[in-house]
Structure formats: C-alpha cells, structure tokens
Assembly symmetry: D2
Homo-oligomer: 341 residues x 4
C-alpha cells in the first residue's frame, strides 16, 4: 500500500547501495579510523567553513542525542528544550538514563525563542532556592523542528547569543537537517548552523543513508576523549567505514541537498493540493512533513488507500495526521496521494 508514514522506510539512495557493493573486497581499520571517515569529515568541515570543527559518525539519533548531551551537560545541570522536542517525548528517557533532567519550555510550532530561554535562565538564577534545583546546562533544539518548521537565521543567532551569554552550549539536532537547508525561504545554511551551534548533527538515516548521524563539534568544542564516550554509550560502530562511505557519498555532487530538496518539492505539491481542497493544515511547514487535522471519517477513508502517521486525537471526532515525504518519494506516489485527498 502507498505510504507517506515517515522518511525512514526506504533502505538508501541508489548511489549509496552501489558504493556499498563496490567495497566488497576492501579491508579497513575499524571504529572510524578509516579513510572514508576522514574524507567525509573533511568535506563536512569544508562546508561548515570552520577549520576547527571535528566530525564523528554515529549510527542512530537517540544514541547520538544521548552521547552528545551527556558529554556537554554538567552533572548539576539539565538540558533545556521545547516540550515537543524529541528528547523529551520519544527517546524512552535516554537522556534521564544518563542522569540529566530534560527541562522543557512550551513550544510554539515546535520552536523555542531566545526570549523564552533568557527568561527561563533569569528566573532560575533569581530563585533563592536555585541551588536546590536543576541548573540549565545546555540547550537543545532541532532544525527542522518536530513539526517540520524551520528556524530563521535570525532566530538561531538570537538563541545562540542568549545561550552563550548564559554559558550554555547550543546543540542543534539535525536528524532532518537537509530538509531544512533546502526548504523554501530557509536562510540558515550549513556554515550558519556551524557558526551558531556548539555542536550539531547532520542526519543521514532520514536523508538517503541506511543509517548514520554525523556529529559536528564546532570551534574546537569536542569534549575530551569523545571516542571513549561514544564507545561507553555503545555508539561506536565496529565497521565505521560504512558510515564514512555513506557520508562521503551524500556529500559528493551535493547528493544530500538534492535528495532533501526533492522531498520538499514533493511535499510542496501536496501542500498546494491541501490548500486547494481546503484542508486544515496544522503548522506552516516548508519541509517534508505536513500535519493535517481531519475528521475521524476522513481519516478512515484515507487509511484505505495510504498509510499516514497518526499523531493524536483532536477533540472527540477529529485527528491530526502526518504526511511525510522523503528523498525516495516518487512523482507517481505523490500524484496518487493527491488523488485520495
């Protein structure tokens, strides 16, 4: 059946599968010490325009968030994020499992603002009992957000400024970063992300790779002995070159950007159709995720033809659904979906 359920249901871009085949007879040293990792890292560092940036390749998103956040957050502190943030909702308590509280702020369209962060810190330090509370110790946002919205460069710079004024590292979870970087109206490019963030990720799993998240510590921010921390979290892949090869491929001929842009364009077609047909679209998103609210009846009808993501019940007889395109979505699939709307 047709599926727009998520952006991680296809194996990998053909370019990646081809290269996997080609290295059948090669031998490589393990744990990311191979040449492919080096080549891929160099390409990313160059795109970031930050010679002090250091790149690490991990397998999945939750393990990456867990490893990075526990490495950058002091023991007496927690990590500030939107209440809708992935670490606060859908990572099974992976952050708390490392001993840190997640400190959620109310989101608007999946975002938090610099003013919110500043106000939170201000009130924290003003509280006479703050030594008995969990300090804000790091800031986590995702670009795009859980709701597919994109922070503007101005918003990111303001968040970064406040975070740094408050001595907090800013971590940008880019599990779907490509979809943000290539969305219409986006004005924060990879070098901007590298400039405002202390650490960020470039997601592969949802953007054409079999798996893989590149972690970029900017401006020499890499925590001491980070390889050991990665290992300690069970996140160091033995055959690390599988990660290097994939990211090398993604950053060859702009593949990462082309795959992302394709998904956005397919989503744009769907967005247009939804508008034309008068659907209730929940967030003004320009990336590959579209959230719509429909009646239970309509949802049941759609479910006969296409698998969508179920988000939540809305009131007593409506539901929010997610339509998610990906780098693998074809024009035909999109047209078929639109025919059911």
């Amino acid at each position: 059946m047709l599926s727009f359920q998520n952006d991680y249901s296809s194996t990998a871009a053909p370019q990646i599968l081809t290269r996997m085949q080609q290295i059948e007879h090669e031998q490589h040293p393990g744990y990311g010490t191979d040449d492919y990792c080096k080549i891929a890292a160099d390409k990313i560092v160059k795109l970031c325009d930050d010679p002090e940036a250091q790149v690490w390749f991990l397998v999945g998103g939750t393990q990456t968030n867990q490893t990075v956040i526990s490495a950058i957050t002091p023991q007496y502190a927690g990590v500030v994020c939107a209440d809708s943030g992935h670490i606060n909702t859908h990572e099974a308590g992976a952050i708390e499992a490392t001993g840190h509280k997640v400190l959620p702020l109310p989101n608007e369209d999946g975002k938090i603002t610099a003013a919110q962060l500043d106000d939170y810190c201000e009130r924290f330090y003003a509280d006479a009992n703050h030594e008995h509370m969990v300090f804000p110790g790091a800031v986590y946002i995702s670009q795009p957000t859980e709701y597919g919205t994109v922070y503007t460069l101005e918003e990111l710079e303001a968040l970064s400024q406040v975070a740094h004024d408050r001595k907090l590292p800013l971590f940008i979870d880019g599990a779907r970063l490509g979809y943000a970087l290539t969305s219409d109206g986006n004005d924060a490019n990879l070098d901007d992300i590298a400039r405002v963030a202390d650490v960020f990720t470039i997601g592969g799993t949802k953007v054409g790779a079999m798996f893989g998240e590149a972690v970029v510590f900017t401006r020499g921010n890499t925590p001491r002995n980070f390889t050991t921390l990665v290992k300690q979290h069970g996140a160091l892949l033995a055959k690390g070159w599988l990660l290097g090869l994939q990211f090398d491929t993604l950053f060859t001929d702009d593949l990462y950007f082309k795959l992302s842009e394709h998904a956005n364009k397919e989503a744009d077609k769907i967005r247009q159709a939804l508008t034309d047909k008068g659907y209730d679209v929940a967030f003004v998103s320009q990336t590959n995720q579209i959230f719509i609210t429909v009646s239970d009846k309509k949802a049941a009808e759609l479910a006969k033809h296409v698998t969508l993501g179920f988000m939540e019940a809305v009131g007593t007889d409506r539901v929010m659904l997610r339509i998610c395109t990906s780098w693998a979505t074809t024009d035909e699939q999109t047209a078929e979906l639109i025919s059911y709307l």
Copy 2:
C-alpha cells in the same frame, strides 16, 4: 529576628535531646540493627495496623525519595507526580540522577487526582508510539502537599485504586505527615495511609527530630535487599540507633501527633488573623504552611520584623510569601507575628 521561614530551623524536641543525652554511655551495633530501631519500627507497624509492614530509617528527604523511587520504578519507566512535587522542583535532579524521568501532571492546589492519573495512563497506552516513550512506573504524591493542602481519604483511595489498576506502586511522601494527620478535617489516619500506599514516609526532620525519615513499605512490599540499596545511595547511617531513638521518642506518648497539632493550632491563629485583616491567602490549607500574596511594599515592611519564606513574584508588584509554623513555634512568636500583619 522572628522567623516563620520554615519548619526545620530548630534542633529537636526537648524529649529527643534529653534521650540523646541519656544514651551517652551506651554501645550499639551499627546500621540500624540496634534495639531502638526495632522498638521504633514495632510502634510504627502497630500504628499502621499492617503486620507485614517493614520500616527503615533514613536521614533526609531527598535521599529517601531517591532511594525509594529508584527501588520501586522499573528501568523503562518514570515516576508520575504533581508538577509542584518536591522531586520535580527542589531536589536538584536527584531522581533523574538515578536514571528515571519525572513525569509531571498539572497540580491543583498541590494535588493530582485519580482521574488525571487514569487519563494520563489511558493516553499513554493508547499512543501508538508508547514503546518509545517513558512508561509511567510509579506514582508520587505528598501528604500534605507542597502547598500545605491535605488529600481527603476519598481522594487517596481513588488515587490508590487507579494506581493499582494500572499496576503502579503509590508512594506517599510524608515529610510533613504529622501536620496532615492532625489537621482539622483530615480524615486519613496513619492506618489509612498504610492501606492506600505501597510505601510512604513519616518525616522526622520537620516534626521534632534532629533528622530522620521513616520509610514504611506496606503489605510485604519491601524491595529485595533494600538495605543494600540504602547503602548504595549513601543513605545508611552508621549510628542508626540515633534514628531509632528519635522515632521511638516521637511515637511515645503520641509526641509526634502532639508536636504536629501544636504547629497547626499556631497556624490556625495566623490564618484567622489573615482572614480578619483581609489578606489574599493562596491555598485553603489546614496545616502548618500558609501562603499569602502581598504587595512588594507590604512584603518589605514585614521583612523588617520577621523572616518569611519567599515563594515567587506574582505579576509586577506582588509576591507570594510562605508563613510556616512548626512544633517549636511559641504562642508568643505567633502573637508577635500577628501584630505585624
């Protein structure tokens, strides 16, 4: 200066200090294996009317909450509580430090309801992604609440019923339990608490002891090797008889109840005065804590004569203050306070 800042600013009830003096020349085995601990535990078990109850004596509230909650909450789960709950606000992340997320529900007057808990669980299990989320694994409430309010027996029984229907142990933090048990209109006695809770504490620190929290596991609920867990959390006092002796004293001649009732009576006088003078009292509390909202100017004036607890700014020119009586509050102190109101 006169102080109504909190209920843990005096050393201990004279009966306790006297007995401390009397045992100067005794020798005791360590770590709670002494006779005083046994005697005190027996008295508590009897009051609970639960022959299978087991009692442990720890030193402080945060360590007790941390030790108990980490012992009763499965690894895949968190602990549900009111967002105003002490473990969520003022324990420096002690629960998360043991790997468990705190799952806050919006409080009303410091309380959560059975319906809220049931709805939370219902929605949790209805969520298609709940395996990627933190399971509710235990329920934490405090009696009285952080705001001095008291759960009725009906409320407690309902919470207990829902918790048990959902296979969740109910933990009642009784850091100020005496003040609830002796408040006007309270209808949940110690044996009721023992019946509805799977584990609860009887706070000594705030009710006449130098320090000490009695942990009562009801109906044979004690976790395996709990002594070792207490030790692992650094909560096993070497000279355990100091705890046993204090709780033996508190449960001799109803001292625990008399001390608590005294504090409530002093608070009642203050409540009456506040009503007479038209103060804005924040919660309808019948225990030893009173929360008032006053103008900044009034707060400054009061501060010249008496130390109160500062809770938070309210709007731009008002503040919430806490007036807290204790077992040690004298009639004279109360009268002096009232004269400043």
Copy 3:
C-alpha cells in the same frame, strides 16, 4: 598490506550485499517490526529448539552487552565475569555507566568455572558484611572466549547449574558464536547454548554481516518492555529490516555456519604451520583467533609483511600477537601469511 588483524575489517558476505541491493525499492515499517526481522527470528528460534525464545536485533556488541546486562541485573547487584571478559576490559565502562559493578573472577584461558562461581557466591553470602557489598546478580561469559577458547558443553552445563542454583541469569556473549559452534571438538550446539543460557547473542558483525547482534532470550525470559530498554540505550535501529535481512541471509542455507567454519579452517592451517615451525602459541584455541608470543625482533619482521593484532608486551623483549582469520580470509592470504612465519 596483508592483514590478519581482526575479523571485522571486511564489509559483509556477498550474499548479504546482494540482498541489500535487491531491496532498494521496498518500503518497510521501522524499528524491527518488519517481516525480515520476523523471518530471521523464526529461523533462530527454530534452531534453538525453544518455542518460548524471543529474538531481538541490535547493532553492536557493546550496546548489546550494556542493554542486556542492565536489564537482567538487579540494582543492588553486579555482573560476574572473567577478568579477561570484554565487558571488564574493552567497553569503556559501558556496564558501570548503567550503575552496575563488574565483578571479575580470575580467568584460565579466558574461562571461568562453575566451581569458581559457586565459591564466589558461597564466600559472598558467608561474609557478615555482604549487605554492604555488591551482590552477584548475573553471570557473563563469552563463547568463544576473548582468547578464542571454547567452553565444553559439560563446562557450560555446570556453570548454568550453579548460576541457576544461585538464582543468577547466565548471559553468553556470542559475538563470535559461529566460530565456536563450528570449531573442531566443539560439543555445544545452538540448542545447547539456548538450553544453558537465559540470554545469549549471535554475533553478526564478526561473522559475515555489516553489523548486527541477535539477542536471544530463552524460555520466556525476555525482560518486560525490552523494546523500550533497547530504545533507551540508543540501540534501536530505525531501519530495523537491515538487521532482519542480514540475519535471514545468515541463517539461509547455513551461511552463518559455513562462513564460520571457513575461518576456522584457515586458522587451522596457520596453527599447523606455527606448530611445525615451533612457535610459542599462547592458548589452545580451535577457533579463528591464534595468540603467539614472539621476540620483539620477530614481531618487527612480521610487521613488514602483515598486520597482526598487538596484545601486550611479555617480559622485556617479547610480545604477544594475535592472528585472526575471518569468513573473508582467502586461501591465498593464509598461504602468504604462512610464508612469512
């Protein structure tokens, strides 16, 4: 350069790479809920001859050990293992990071014995202070061991018996299980492993897969909500079918066993050559790892032609080296290596 450094330096068996290519246009549900995972699990369950067995697919060895051990070891307890065990030496403290002490026993040829385990438990419980100590809470062994040796069925049954008498689950780390199952003289087959162990792994990473460890909980031993625990440890692969597909392939036409046997045969040739040439072989191993002790001079000479694993200095002028074959080792490579010996 020729390398016998380890058994995880080649990408994957050609059968696996071919199937990866074939599924390019398929779509699958995530997180291991796909059909390939089901098919692969069924095959493994059948081989285990344990209808109650449950199978999970994780990515890497350290994350698997961490997730399993923290799930089966009580909070008041640690995990008993050989001092040479991987979890005690080369996992960067991943077990301790979950709060559990590793309790090492002196190994002989990489093994621990039932008598050692029983004696350890006996002395533990006999110690008057054992409540202040870390309880033995689970037993970890690996088959084959870190030194390539293989437990006999009799040894395994004895360990299992003692573990169960002591109420301890037995976990067998089978990162290289295939090499044990197909070694000359091995008498513990997969169904025997399933019978003696409460949980064990079937390693893919070192036996032909790109990555992947199958975790088998026997006799209905799966911990509650294990999926959530896997997620919490960042070990739940989004595209879980990549694991299912690989293990389905490995357990089609006995590929797993054929790949393993091949490596052992290559190692046998090297062992014969070493014996013929009078080398000092450190352990009597029948699997794919061979440990030799040579002079520094000899080691330097070998290093010109072939990369071997460096284990440790022995005395002042000798070193222990590891020769490791794999499923990918060719007859030509083995012949070339022998020519340098």
Copy 4:
C-alpha cells in the same frame, strides 16, 4: 558485653552532646548556611594553612565518597584505588551507581604506591586500545588505610606528584583521619594532607561525632555548584548546623586530636599485650585498628567475653579478627580485654 568491634558504636563525645543540649532554643538557617558551619570551616581552613581551601559538611562516609568522586572524575574515567579500598569493597557499588568504574590496584598493607600508580598509567596510555578502556580519572586512598596503616609523608608526596603529573586529582578519604594524625611515627600533619591532596575528608563519625564528614577541597579545587551536587546525592542535611556545631566542637581545644590520640594509646596497650603473648598480628599498624590471626578455637573462646570484628577465614582453622579501639574506649575496658587475651 565488652565490645571492641568498631569505632562507631558510641553516640558522641560528651562535649558534643552538651553543646547539642545548649542550642535547644536557637533557630538557624538550613543546609549549612548557618554560623556554626562557617566557624567550623574557618577553623579547618586555618589548620590546613590553605586560604583557598573550602569546607563542606556531609553526613556519612559512603555518601561523601560517592558525591566527591563523581564530582571529580570525568565521565570517560574511573577512580584508581587499592583493591582493599572501602569504595571497592564495602560501599554496595555506590561509585559504580554514579557511572564510574573503580580501578583497583593490588594493595600492600592497605596501601598503593606512587610507582604502582605511575606504572598503571604508563601501561594504560601505552595500550593501543586504551580509548576503548576506562581512563584513570582520579586517585582514591585512605589515611589511615582499611588496615589501620599510615602513609608516610614521603609516600603521600610521591603519590601526589605522580597523580598530578598524570593530571589526576588525589582524594584522601580520612574517615579515621584523626587516628592517623596522632599515631606514633606519623609525619604527615593536617597541613601536609591539605598540600598533597586535591580533596580530602576529616571523618567525624568514627572520631567523636554523632555523624559527619568534613570535605576539604584544597587550593580552590571545589567543583562548580558543589552544593547542588551534594543535594543531588541526597547528602545535604537540612539542619546543617548540627554538622557545623560538631566540627566546631571537635576543633575546639584540639578535641579531635585528643580523642584520636586516646584511642591510639589504648590500642598501643593492646598491641603491647599481643606482642608479649606472642599473637600473630597481621599488619604493622599504629592506629586504633589491630588485626590478629588466631585459631578458630581461640576465637570462640574470646567471643565468650568480647565482641571483636570478624574479618575473614584464614586457611581451614584460623580466622582474622579486628580489635578496634575508639575515642570512647576506657582504660578499664582495655584492661579487661587484655585479661582475656
């Protein structure tokens, strides 16, 4: 019955009990912000001759070790100690519960040496795989040791030098520090301890206090927000002045030293008697603990008259016992014990 079982079986020195009585009617701010804590800290800082030293008062030894070690040890690292060290043997895994491996070195008479530590670090960094291992991250010793032996100043300075050369903080657990400082032949005074250690403790529980361990961070070494870390570990006593008062008393008129010296003198008498009677004394200790090895028969005979500490079985028919004096031991008790020897 006569008991020489341990040094924490009497409540407290009379001077302390008297002062507890005297403060009955005082009110104090909580959590160590009172004047007694300040006075006591100032006295200790002065004795340490280190104006940058900072002092904190915690309740018990295990919680102190756990709080301090987790604060000073990096996440990628463990704590090096003697295999006989309290944290490795009798703290129920409290260190591992915070995520850190304990890295034991073989003790000699309870001690480790600078050369051992240096060699351990040397071999660690020389290991090609050390990034997959647990880094040495801090050094823990106790003065006196678990076996009552005392490090000489030269030994301490050497350990400190190696630790600092290796960038490791040196933590000295002084649960019985007084007994070391006042033992015959000791040449490391409090200011020496402060000079060689980065953090150390002055134990009260075993030297005249009801409870309490003073933590001294030297030369401005206090970890950021240490109060919050103390709270997070459940180690922040609400009525902190009870700790301040006790340490103020202990450091008034050299009480701490007098109490300690008294215990040592009583032990000296026992040591002399043991020598005279030809006992097999296990360690050359000059502090308040004496370890003897006797036949099972002799042990049974002694047990009729006096309670001693049972250490372990030695061979098939002998046992090691501990005779422990304390500040509370009377001349009469010592004479009676000697009469049974």
